[in-house]
Each structure stands twice: as structure tokens, then as C-alpha cells.
């Protein structure tokens, strides 16, 4: 028996985190910089929503405003932290030796494992927008790792493209989770078959309109479905961009 919930764009948690005042040690870029965060699940100051979905604990739709805007260097353990850059440039610094810029289409998976530090920075005037996804790992205290990938929207047009997980071409991660992205410019029907009936899917509309499992979802709406053999998604004539996170339940 399948089950589901819809989370509309404006039903998510919202936080605006300043680089001044109480959060000055958390967010860099004093004095003008600030981060806006829409959270699909409880995180930080937003604790009024859902705890998570499957192995997902964080799904944040974030924007870093003003040059120097950053999450100052901070520690992580265990979580598999993924970022999908949508607009602008994210400078990512981590204790695995990484210091690099990621642009639109770029993403990374940072398995914090037994521990690491990282900083997320927007050095530029243009806002940096990214989706942050945190997953529980399948083992505690794994060796930390950082792997980068790139989603080519043109090459993946009208195809469900694997980004993370055990599908060919995807960045592997230590969890029974798969992330795929669908960018479409034409009407189409896409049948998502979860690995088993014990896997659920969280579909997040980055842009456009999609009919997913009978619900019409608009920009930044999302729907979770579990216990289903197949989830039918229909795109229309306009541009559509959807992120699918499949997770063991």
C-alpha cells in the first residue's frame, strides 16, 4: 500500500541568517552578507516540520547573498553532505585538501565519516544558490571522502540522469540512496521504479511544473512517495527541472 505527502514551497521552514549579531561566527561576510534557507525538514532554528524522510535528514534550498557570504569553517562527522549548485559559484574548502569553485550543474558528495572541516563561500556579487542534501551514512566513522560531479543539462535533456548512488555514471555514496535529475523541455511521461517497495522517493521541483503521482507540483514544491512499485511523473511543454532522491525507508 503506497503512501505520500506533498510539501508546498511555502510550507517549508524559512530562515534568514545574518553575518552580524548572534550568528556572526556561523555566517561570514560581515556586514552585508546573509544566507536564506528554505528547509524541507527540521534543521537548525526550524524545528516545526518533519524530521526527515528515509535516510534524508536535511534538504535545504539556500542562497548566499553578497561577496564573502559563507558558512565559516565548521566540523562535520558521519553525515554524507551533498551540494548541488544551481546558480552562481560556490567556493568549497575542506580538510580533505579541496579548495575549488563549483558552478551551475556542479555537485559534490562529502562523506564526513570520522571527521573533517569545511567552509562554503560565495566570493562573488551574484547570489549563489544551491540545494543541500544530508544523508545518514550506512556506517559510522567511515574514512572521510570528497567526490565531485557535474550534471550536463544539455546532454541529459529529457532523460532521468543519475547523479549519486550505484547507477552507472553516478558518484557512489555509502548509503542505499540514489539521486537523479530530470531536465525537460517537452511533454513526457517518466516512470520512476524504486529499487524495491521498501524504497521511497522524494521529488523536488527545482523549476517548472510537473505532475507527479497525481499531484501538480510547481517550482520548489515537493512530494514524497513510498511503498509504490512505480511513480509516474508527467512534464509539460515548458522547462522543467526535478531532483529525485530515492532512499531506503
Amino acid at each position: 500500500m503506497s503512501d505520500s505527502f506533498v510539501l508546498r514551497a511555502d510550507e517549508r521552514g524559512y530562515n534568514r541568517i545574518l553575518s552580524t549579531g548572534a550568528t556572526a561566527a556561523y555566517v561570514g561576510g560581515h556586514p552585508d552578507a546573509f544566507i536564506t534557507r528554505f528547509s524541507s525538514f527540521n534543521f537548525g532554528e526550524y524545528q516545526e516540520g518533519r524530521h526527515g524522510f528515509g535516510r534524508i535528514r536535511v534538504f535545504g534550498d539556500e542562497a548566499f547573498h553578497h561577496p564573502g557570504c559563507s558558512y565559516s569553517m565548521h566540523p562535520h562527522h558521519n553525515f554524507i553532505i551533498c551540494a548541488f549548485v544551481l546558480e552562481g559559484k560556490l567556493t568549497h574548502i575542506n580538510t580533505l585538501g579541496g579548495l575549488e569553485d563549483l558552478g551551475p550543474g556542479d555537485y559534490y558528495a562529502f562523506c564526513a565519516g570520522s571527521g573533517g572541516l569545511h567552509e562554503e563561500l560565495n566570493r562573488y556579487a551574484e547570489p549563489m544558490r544551491a540545494i543541500y542534501l544530508w544523508l545518514l551514512p550506512d556506517h559510522l566513522l567511515l574514512p572521510p571522502s570528497y567526490t565531485r560531479g557535474h550534471f550536463d543539462a544539455a546532454a541529459g535533456l529529457n532523460r532521468m540522469t543519475p547523479l549519486l548512488g550505484d547507477d552507472a555514471g553516478a558518484v557512489p555514496i555509502s548509503q542505499d540512496v540514489r539521486v537523479k535529475r530530470l531536465v525537460s523541455d517537452a511533454p513526457g511521461t517518466f516512470r520512476y521504479r524504486p529499487r524495491t517497495s521498501g524504497h521511497g522517493v522524494y521529488a523536488f521541483v527545482i523549476d517548472g511544473v510537473v505532475r507527479c503521482d497525481g499531484s501538480t507540483l510547481k517550482r520548489r514544491d515537493s512530494k514524497a512517495v513510498w511503498g509504490a512499485d512505480e511513480i509516474v511523473c508527467e512534464t509539460g511543454r515548458g522547462d522543467t527541472d526535478v531532483l529525485f532522491v530515492e532512499t531506503v525507508m
Partner: protein
């Protein structure tokens, strides 16, 4: 896992993991200290997240973990 088994908790702010079996001796929590016996105003030693925002997890350790300190 039985109710009596020693459990593991993960900080939802940074992922720091607390294992009842190991405690945190350097922070005054001897091995075997139960989660329920840690004061409610305790915070994550790495990021300051409140105790209430930890989740009990049943996740096995990676090979070779937890790494025990070398004998003196």
C-alpha cells in the same frame, strides 16, 4: 536491539556520534554513560547543538572503528 542494549546517538547539527559504550571520558562522561543520564542542558561538544536534537541510530561502525586509543 533490546531496550537494555547500549545505544548510539548522532548530532543532527554536525553528525558527531555519541556511543553509550564508549562515553566521552575527556568530557566527564565515563564509558557506559546512558543517554538518559546525560543532563538535558548538555550540548554537542563539537557544534553546540542541544541534546534534544540528537537522533538515536542503529548504524554499524566502519571497519577498524571505533579506533581505540593506544595503550599507555
Amino acid at each position: 536491539m533490546t531496550d537494555d542494549a547500549l545505544k548510539r546517538w548522532i548530532c543532527l547539527g554536525c553528525g558527531f556520534s555519541y556511543d553509550e559504550a564508549l562515553g566521552l571520558p575527556e568530557h566527564g562522561l565515563p564509558p557506559g554513560t546512558r543517554w538518559r543520564d546525560i543532563p538535558q542542558d548538555w550540548i554537542c561538544p563539537d557544534c553546540g547543538t542541544p541534546k534534544s536534537r540528537f537522533e538515536m541510530v542503529e548504524i554499524p561502525y566502519a571497519a577498524g572503528q571505533p579506533a581505540l586509543p593506544a595503550a599507555a
